[in-house]
């Protein structure tokens, strides 16, 4: 019988959203295969989180709870996951969300088992004797179908923003078992030093209208026009990572791969070029308007409307007219 194991990623003391998206894909697959979902969780002081995770329909959680796992160390994680996976004989499916962590750990683990992976697929389904997944190519201009024998060892990362997050069901429960960490001397070639993570207090994902500013806004003070426009139009402020990195606006407002995924009625992107890491977070907005001085900006590939002009001229004028 197939073992179906989801690597449950934790950030800021919570199970990440992308892991919950992965669990949605795993759930359908588990029904089609007629097997349970199992999970593995690595960290320190994570017992409550592990118990909580079973309420997503995970029947058994292997919990690696150890002070050495307080900070993420890819070599420690790979070794311990390797030991866990070695206990099972194929067919086995090991899945994780294609977060930055998932995209590091899963290919590395797969290579240790001399296996390729379903890399950043939007879906993974059973078709006859094969597992089939879709991997976007050329920044989503083409779709590649990936296929592999379901009876082998399969490693998978599920791309964010393509599946709903699994919901908690209080009536569900499962078993939590401790799994001892395995770390070899060679794994100590990596040392965790520190992590800087922004606190989040504003949720922009529910807003119907987003005015987002990027590097093209040109400065912290100049970012005021984005706030003012959002306020006047009754929307929320969004931002590219470049604007967040420059400290013009807090991380809460970041849209994209490492920020929020939004689907408002209106998204107005001002001075944002449209790097793929940004586009994945907003391309499903209902109406996309770009304000950019550059007609060649990739943002125009996904935008419905574009004004080619200086945003500092456009936004004050827009406020006047509405």
């Amino acid at each position: 019988m197939t073992k179906l194991i989801v690597v449950i990623e934790i950030a800021k003391g919570k199970i990440t959203g992308i892991t919950k998206e992965c669990l949605t894909v795993a759930k359908k697959l588990s029904e089609d295969l007629g097997v349970d979902i199992e999970g593995v969780m690595l960290g320190h002081g994570i017992n409550d989180l592990a118990v909580n995770a079973t309420k997503y329909g995970i029947k058994k959680i292997y919990k690696v709870d150890d002070a050495q796992f307080a900070g993420i160390n890819i070599l420690y994680h790979t070794r311990t996951l390797e030991e866990l996976v070695k206990q099972f004989s194929p067919p086995t499916i090991i899945m994780a969300g294609a977060s930055l962590y998932g995209q590091e750990i899963i290919p590395r683990l797969a290579a240790r088992f001399n296996s390729a992976i379903f890399a950043s697929v939007t879906s993974l389904v059973l078709e006859g004797d094969n597992l089939v997944g879709i991997h976007p190519l050329f920044e989503e201009k083409l779709l590649g179908t990936m296929s592999a024998d379901k009876n082998q060892m399969n490693f998978v990362t599920i791309l964010g923003g393509n599946n709903p997050e699994a919901e908690i069901d209080e009536s569900l429960s499962g078993e939590v078992t401790d799994f001892a960490p395995v770390i070899s001397e060679r794994d100590k070639r990596e040392t965790f030093v520190e992590e800087k993570i922004a606190k989040v207090s504003v949720d922009i994902t529910k807003a119907k209208l987003i005015i987002a500013g990027g590097r093209g806004v040109g400065g912290k003070e100049k970012f005021g026009i984005i706030h003012e426009t959002a306020k006047t139009l009754g929307g929320e402020v969004g931002a590219s990572r470049a604007a967040v990195d420059a400290d013009w606006v807090p991380y809460d407002h970041e849209i994209g791969q490492t920020g929020k995924t939004i689907t408002p009625d209106f998204y107005i992107g001002c001075g944002i070029s449209g790097a793929i890491q940004h586009l994945v977070g907003m391309r499903n907005s209902k109406t996309i308007i770009a304000v950019n001085t550059d007609e060649e900006a990739p943002m125009l590939d996904v935008a419905h409307y574009a004004i080619i002009a200086d945003l500092h001229e456009v936004l004050p004028e827009l406020i006047k007219k509405l």
Binding site: Q103, E139, Y251, V314, K321
Partner: protein, 266 residues
Amino acid sequence: MNIIVFIKATIDRNAPLGPDETFPGDRDDKADVMTNNYDKHAIEAALQIVEKKGDGKVTAVCLGSDMADKVVKEAIAMGCHEAFRIENSEARVINFFSVAKILAAAIKKIGTYDLILFGMQSYDYGTATMAPMVSEFLDLPTASWVERISLNGDKINVEKVIEGGTRTIELQLPAVLSIASSGDFEEPRYTSVRRIMKASRTKVPVWEIDKLEAGALDTNVEFTKIEQPPARMEECVVFKDDDVPVLIDNLLSALKDKGLNLGAYK
């Protein structure tokens, strides 16, 4: 300090894409072939490290067909000390698992290295699997999405992107890194016309896959089909070359025609 940088030939994002596009190395129009943009950040990182250290060598390596020679030459023009291509005509090997094996075998053949750098992903396949897979095949520590680097004897301190912030880790050299498009290496250097002219005259050494002892090159996960997603209904409507108030009026009336009202959320 010996640094190996992997560079990939991909196609211009404005070039037309066939639905059966499998490998960018064999295009009819050579003008469409270009260096994967993300790899330029890796070249920039390599050059900065060597410059700062005051000694060392940067070797650029590209797996591709002869169309990729211009990519190799661009790496030389940017300042890489050496560069070569691994012959992959007619897209003989395209699956990323085998590519990772070939690249790992090439590194073994080069023999001496302290750092191996990749761009953070490719524009075409975009699997971001090279750094983690190659590092595993070579049994080396690795970090992806690296924004900042500081060397510390036989160790390297790297600051990498994570969701909502950064993580700093220390790795024992040699190590494999993928370099972020943001951070200290965000702006790859431009090359002068003189350097490009000079580089264009260099002969690109070519290595053969078969001489690399890369092992079996079959993959257990295959691309079976590549197709275009359902076309988006509308093209982007562009308002330009007019006074800003006129541009906005035009936008607002276009929205109105579609029954959309930007003023509905106040």
